[in-house]
């Protein structure tokens, strides 16, 4: 008798989220398997890799991660195009300059920039605010309005601002990033709250990604549990795809700043680990890691 390896099958399926529209659309999620277990079932979409750009000229980036972009960092459109040339599936634009502790750019200016990038760049766009919950609610709501129906992925929505932000995202045809501080119970709570405003196909979970040596194992555990609860146990409120926004976390460590080789490794190992944990979308900075992670996703590593 021929031996047939037993296969686990699961009742839950991660929701498919579409970012961007028409030929620019990028799809994530949709799998009914544990991360990368392609032999167990069906994965509608492989994980995707975004390269990160910002509106502040890569201030504070170590020179070896700034180097591939150094001639374009003052122009987000050219920078985004460079990222696509370097192999990114999509672009993550961080509105660093809106930070009230920094340049404190207005919501109007930020929204105009996003609109310009959307118009000129041939891919889907993730837009992260500066991380100040009040300012983010204001800025990202305005971005949502100005870029109506462009189907951006906007965030982070957090406990303090999800209501106005969720409304703006729902009313203007975008997707939202639900961010909680590495806590599975708070993660579910925010998902449940956002599900009152948006369908699960418009929500992406950001459980916070920590860098190797700075708590990466906590992020790993939360991502792993999110998949188990959503896919194995079929918990509807935990079936959204996961974004691992890890590039910035890695490149601010002293280890990444110490040398080019170490910096690339630091981001690469963190990315590979969180990919294994279940990330559906990774935000990176160095093109070498973009290439390496995409090879891993395609099973060529």
């Amino acid at each position: 008798m021929e031996y047939k390896a037993p296969l686990e099958t699961y009742s839950g399926r991660v929701k498919e989220v579409v970012i961007g529209k028409r030929d620019k659309a990028v799809k994530i999620g949709g799998e009914n398997i544990l991360p990368l277990h392609y032999f167990e079932g069906n994965a509608a979409n492989k994980p995707k890799v975004a390269l990160e750009i910002d509106d502040s000229g890569a201030v504070g980036w170590p020179e070896w991660v700034r180097e591939p972009y150094k001639d374009v960092v003052s122009d987000p459109v050219r920078w985004a195009k460079r990222c696509l040339d370097l192999g990114a599936d999509l672009i993550c634009l961080r509105l660093e300059s809106t930070d009230p502790q920094g340049a404190n750019t207005s919501a109007e200016e930020a929204a105009a920039l996003v609109k310009k990038v959307v118009a000129e760049v041939e891919t889907a766009l993730i837009v992260y605010g500066c991380g100040d919950d009040k300012k983010d609610a204001e800025v990202l709501s305005r971005v949502a309005e100005v870029c109506r129906d462009e189907n951006l992925l906007l965030g982070p929505a957090v406990k303090e601002n999800y209501e106005p932000l969720g409304r703006a995202v729902a009313d203007n045809g975008h997707c939202i990033i639900a961010q909680t501080p590495i806590d599975i119970n708070l993660e579910k709570e925010l998902n449940v709250k956002l599900l009152k405003q948006l369908p699960p196909e418009r929500i992406v979970i950001d459980p916070l990604s920590s860098a190797l040596g700075y708590g990466m194992e906590y992020s790993f555990t939360i991502m792993e549990r999110t998949k188990q609860i959503g896919v194995i146990h079929g918990d509807f409120a935990m079936q959204m795809p996961i974004i691992a926004d890890l590039g910035g976390e890695c490149w601010k460590t002293s280890q990444a700043k110490a040398s080019r080789e170490q910096g690339i490794l630091w981001e690469g190992i963190t990315a590979m680990s969180l990919l294994l944990a279940g990330a559906n979308l990774l935000v990176l900075r160095h093109p070498d890691n973009c290439r390496m992670i995409k090879e891993a996703i395609d099973g060529k590593l």
Binding site: K188, L195, D235
Partner: protein
């Protein structure tokens, strides 16, 4: 009384006097401070319940000896010098050791109330189920002992307006598994009603969930649905969040 760091002797004595001024009921005296405990025990008119001793070395030497000296009933928790045991098996191991020690001192099982230690569902969901399982097997492990829980700890960390239903549902679940007594929020009228056997429909639903029977949530009104969802969270069938009643 808590640790009663300041004037423990006076505080212990004052508290027992004050309470006995208004009731003839027996007193359960709760402090970590053996000096305050002894001062209170001395004055109790009815046989008190010493709350509590544990498997910790200083408790064996302190509280356990006081229970013997004043011939009290005594709560013995599963805690040891290593902390709270993480699962049913280690809780069993701890309580068997500590009760054996108490028996050797001369404290009979009939005078022992075992506390499995209830932990907050918002902090460690798995522990909630472990304590339930422990209560289920306790009577077989240690015939004659009673059980007691600090019920409201299950909802510690949960937003205040939502604590009651966790306490009430968990009480029903523990009761089904044989719980003898609970230190509970007597100002919650629904909890008291349930404790007196009221709301049989709710009790029936919670029992069904515990027995793994299917319940069609769509057929239920909001109150019933809330108890069903709470029982599922306390059993660990669904992941806890502060919004568990909303999903």
């Amino acid at each position: 009384m808590g640790p009663a760091r300041k004037d423990p002797e006076e505080v212990g004595a004052w508290l027992v006097r004050t309470v006995q001024d208004v009731t003839d009921l027996a007193i359960s005296l709760d402090t970590m401070n053996p000096v305050a405990m002894e001062a209170g025990l001395k004055l109790c008119k009815k046989r008190p319940l010493l709350n509590s001793a544990s498997g910790k070395a200083d408790s064996k030497a302190g509280m356990m000896q006081l229970a013997l000296k004043y011939n009290t009933q005594v709560i013995i928790s599963v805690i040891t010098d290593q902390g709270c045991p993480p699962d049913v098996d280690s809780r069993v191991e701890s309580i068997m050791d500590t009760v054996a020690y108490a028996n050797e001192l001369g404290i009979k099982n009939e005078d022992i109330w075992v506390d499995p230690i209830i932990l907050p569902v918002s902090a460690d969901q798995k522990q909630v189920r472990e304590a339930l399982e422990f209560i289920k097997i306790l009577a077989d492990l240690l015939p004659g002992v009673k059980s007691v829980v600090g019920l409201s700890n299950v909802s510690n960390g949960t937003p205040a307006p939502l604590r009651g239903i966790l306490n009430r549902t968990y009480m029903l679940m523990l009761e089904k598994n044989g719980l003898y007594s609970a230190i509970a929020d007597v100002l919650d009228p629904e909890l008291i009603e349930l404790n007196k056997g009221g709301m049989p429909g709710i009790r029936g639903l919670v029992n069904k969930i515990m027995e793994g029977k299917s319940v069609n949530i769509g057929d239920l009104d909001e109150l019933d649905r809330n108890y069903v969802n709470t029982a599922r969270v306390l059993l660990g069938e669904t992941l806890y969040s502060h919004a568990w009643l909303e999903s």
